[in-house]
Amino acid sequence: MSELERFGLYFVQGLAWGSLYALIALGYTMVYGVLRLINFAHGDVLMVGAYIALFCITLWHLPLLVAIVLAVAGCALLGVLIERGAYRPLRRQPRLTMLITAIGVSLVIENLAQLFFGAAPRHFPAQIGGRLGEGLEAASHSLQQSSHILISPQQIFILITAALLFILLQLIVGRTRFGRAMRAISFDRETAALMGINTDRVISLTFALGSALAAVAGVLAVLGWPKVWPMLGFVPGIKAFIAAVVGGIGNLTGAVLGGMIMGMAEYMVAGYISSEYKDAIAFALLIIILILRPTGLTGRGMIERA
């Protein structure tokens, strides 16, 4: 394998993981925008999505796209339930209380999953069947022939889906009434409420939207790396939050940028330096960005409000 091909391999892997981080980071950044809360349970919603898809495919033999739709629906519901049950009663409490609750909720979901699904990893049948699968296979093959880029059909699927979802999200946040309400709340929640925005409903919908994205990310993740287990979402969730901070929290483009940087950095470190310290790079990135540019790459100066 030539040096260039090796670089291409890491690049494609980094891009694929990066787009997954970006999808998860979008959910974090939206929730942080409306509630100023690190939703620790976000990564576990992703894990639940992966399990729903796993059961859809192995138990009920549904096609992949249907499984994704069901996972999205289930996770959106779960996200709303978490918000209603755990975060809404705490609206008037200090932010620290909500943060601790979020950690508790995350642990509850993880342990429930371990209790019911068992701690052992399960294999995810990572086949994209039907015409879609054939098309992706052909695309992967022709890319390898023409430009010597090693890219699997799953990776093409991940990249295309992530790009489409990001465009869709931009449209929802930028062009709809709900999106405008969301932006208003993240700018100033109390004033938004005074302007007649039903903040509770918008916050619930934000959780639904973020959890839906996490569900897609979960299914895509196990498509590329076919192992489903209860702690699946924990570390990717933390890293995706760091990606959101690196890109500038509260900013959709920043989340995508941060996710891509995170994925790239990990695979470059794993490929060229040492795969053992792959997980450490995320936290190194966080410390560096906090020292050099605390508001993130796309962030503007923030004033701490009391």
């Binding site: 100023r36 690190i38 209603r84 049950g85 755990a86 009663p89 705490l90 409490q93 200090p94 932010r95 620290l96 209380t97 909500m98 943060l99 601790i100 609750t101 950690i103 508790g104 909720v105 642990l107 509850v108 342990n111 429930l112 371990q114 209790l115 701690a119 924990f234 570390v235 933390i238 939050f241 760091i242 901070v245 053992e276 310290y277 997980d279 450490a280 995320a282 936290f283 966080l286 410390i287 906090l290 020292i291 605390p294 701490e304 009391a306």
Partner: protein
């Protein structure tokens, strides 16, 4: 000065007597629980310095514990024999030399943990609390990663080094450090530094305006808390004669957070009581029966206590409690085997459920920042008396 010295001597004699008495009467299992309680108290009270007094949220306390534990273990493993020999050559008795060497290792491990706390705290404490949570969590994971990849300290299979130093971390030493931790944080709280910490917790902006150097104090509290966590790690490692990287994961940090939160953030006695209760609970929940009772009580308590927060009508509340209790009872009886296999998961589920429940129903914790003191108990008692004495 004389009074303090005599207090210290009395405490030491009392502890020594208690140690002799308890190690003679308690069976080894109960003795182990007592020791674990002591370590839990040190951890909870030291996290309370960061979390309760200063209002900063650290998720890496187990990481600092690992730093202290591994640092002291490596020192006693690689250097203790030479040091003991060198000290013996100067005419010191071998027993005293061992104690001195262990003490040196303990001091160095506390210092190392404090430096680690300083290095993590300095860049992140300048910023908002959320980042500290993530950065400390990341720190804990990185420490675990480094330990896992270092064969010199046992790597992923754990480190069992303290063969040269016989197990002399006993009840006496553990509870001596429990008392030191509690006294340091109680005295700190009453000093000008302590008031500066409290002012940061109450209102950071206002504290800064009043001239409190907030970064300095935050980093100081953080490093001090980390140092005590390092001591706890050193004591725990030298008591168990072994360390394992998986004992210092995020779950371990969260358990310490649960102790502080349950006891009431900012309350030293609250944290102590919570540390005792939760350690006892975690041992009680090791049996299937304990778990069954625990989950039933927990489920009922969650529903009844959370109903107001979730704004359920009264009938719905009652029927939900009954339905869930019935389902749980049925399920538990049917799945004894299943339960026996998943004891650890269920225990952790109960603890995390407890955390959410405290936050939703009583976010200030059991004591809510107040302290239990002799004066307070006496006062309350006499007040009641006076009330009953008055005209009815």
């Amino acid at each position: 000065m004389l009074k303090r010295l005599s207090t210290a001597i009395i405490i030491c004699i009392g502890l020594w007597l208690a140690d002799r008495l308890l190690s003679a009467t308690l069976n080894p299992y109960h003795l182990q629980i007592t020791i674990e309680i002591g370590i839990a108290i040190i951890l909870a009270v030291s996290l309370n310095l960061i979390n309760g007094f200063t209002g900063q949220f650290s998720l890496g306390h187990a990481g600092f514990m690992a730093v202290g534990g591994y640092c002291s273990a490596a020192l006693t493993f690689y250097y203790a024999p030479q040091w003991i020999e060198a000290l013996s050559n100067t005419g010191m008795g071998p027993a005293a030399a061992k104690q001195l060497v262990f003490f040196g290792a303990l001091a160095i491990s506390a210092l190392t943990a404090a430096i680690a706390g300083f290095l993590v705290g300095l860049p992140t404490l300048r910023l908002r609390g959320d980042y500290l949570a993530i950065a400390t969590l990341g720190f804990g994971e990185i420490i675990r990663l480094i330990i896992n990849n270092r064969p010199e300290v046992g790597g992923a299979s754990g480190f069992t080094p303290m063969v040269q130093i016989p197990q002399f971390v006993n009840l006496f030493w553990i509870y001596l450090f429990v008392i030191i931790t509690i006294m340091v944080s109680a005295n700190l709280l009453r000093s000008a530094h302590g008031r500066a910490l409290l002012s940061i917790r109450e209102d950071e902006v206002a504290a800064q305006v009043m001239g409190v150097p907030i970064t300095y104090y935050k980093v100081m509290a953080f490093a001090l808390g980390a140092a005590f966590a390092g001591i706890a790690g050193c004591l725990s490692g030298h008591y168990r004669l072994g360390l394992h990287p998986n004992d210092f994961d995020v779950i371990a940090s969260v358990m310490i957070v649960i102790m502080v939160v349950l006891g009431g953030m900012g309350s030293i006695t609250g944290c102590t009581v919570a540390a005792i209760l939760l350690t006892l609970l975690s041992y009680a929940l090791r049996s299937t029966l304990g778990l069954m009772v625990g989950s039933l009580v927990c489920a009922a308590a969650i529903l009844l206590l959370l109903a107001p927060a979730w704004r359920l009508p009264k009938n719905a509340k009652l029927s939900m409690v009954l339905a869930i209790l019935a389902a749980l009872a049925l399920g538990l009886v049917r799945s004894q085997v299943f339960l026996a296999e998943r004891v650890a998961e269920l225990r952790m589920l109960l603890f995390s459920g407890l955390l959410v429940m405290i936050m939703l129903t009583r976010p200030q914790g059991l004591l809510g920042g107040r302290e239990i003191s002799w004066a307070g108990i006496v006062k309350r008692f006499t007040l009641r008396r006076r009330q009953t004495d008055g005209p009815a």
